[in-house]
Subunit: 145 residues, 2 copies
DNA sequence: TATGCTTTTGATTTTCAATTTCAATTGTGT
DNA sequence: ACACAATTGAAATTGAAAATCAAAAGCATA
């Protein structure tokens, strides 16, 4: 899985004529070994602990590259921080976001995906990507109330 | 429709013990007369043209109030600007967002809504709100390519 | 209508994520 | 090793959003 993604990135880099750099390797390693939905700041701090030389800007830039390469996907929640989740081209999942404890539960639903395609077709729209987030309270937070 | 919303806001204000102010009236008028999906900045500039006294902060604060009152809903697209769309409690629609021309097409789909509820139930999750955005190219932008 | 208390306002400052800048560094083909 | 372009990172900049706080405005009461 991790190797698969590294390979995917290398292919993307090669196709785009990007150079292979120490920093990108490190950032990719860290990104792949974090939990889902890291914010840039969070990842930056993690990396900084063992690689103090790596700068803010590079982390931002590189995560944008991963997104272009299809390894990552940007998610905007409502706390003003951009997060990135793991992704592989083609695969997709959506989110239940708990507003109580900020937990994120992932799910997939083929029927919803299919309905989206139908809607798009009806409007002459060509889908590139989509995002479905359901906000509310998870089972634990409901119980705790 | 506009009166209905004004009434809704007045009721909300009364229930919360908020005062009725000239600024809030003006901002509500402008908000209700704009197209869907205004950014705060956009609305602020529109208002400023005829009411130069009204400040940035007030527009931000007031839009948050409208959201609390159920008249507006925050939407985060990928341009770093928070937008607000018109809403009435209970009503909901989702978006096709064209990455070519930034057009936003609204749609509603009962089946998708129903599937979301099922998914939530399956996870013991209580839905408060949700957001579905489909990104891609609209018919015009596809043709223009 | 005046009084006194409280909310609201708005100019300004602050914050903070994200981007830009640019000189120095590094990767890569020759 | 050389040359040249891409990349990096410290620092500055931008820009949205929130916080601050004295002044102004709303509102209940006399």
């Amino acid at each position: 899985m991790i190797l698969e993604k590294k390979k995917a990135f290398n292919e993307f880099a090669a196709a785009k004529g990007l150079r292979s750099t120490r920093q990108r390797d490190i950032i990719l390693d860290f990104f792949l070994s974090t939990h889902q939905h890291v914010s840039v700041e969070e990842l930056y701090l993690k990396i900084k602990a063992s690689h103090p030389g790596i700068g803010h800007a590079t982390v931002y830039r590189t995560l944008k590259l991963f997104t272009e390469a299809g390894l990552a996907r940007e998610i905007l929640l409502h706390d003003g921080q951009t997060r990135y989740e793991h992704a592989l081209a083609g695969e997709h999942h959506d989110h239940l976001v708990c507003t109580g404890c900020n937990a994120i539960i992932e799910f997939e639903d083929e029927t919803i995906e299919k309905l989206q395609k139908e809607i798009a077709t009806r409007h002459g729209f060509m889908i590139r990507s989509h995002k479905l987030e359901i906000y509310g309270l998870c089972a634990e937070c409901r119980a705790a109330q």
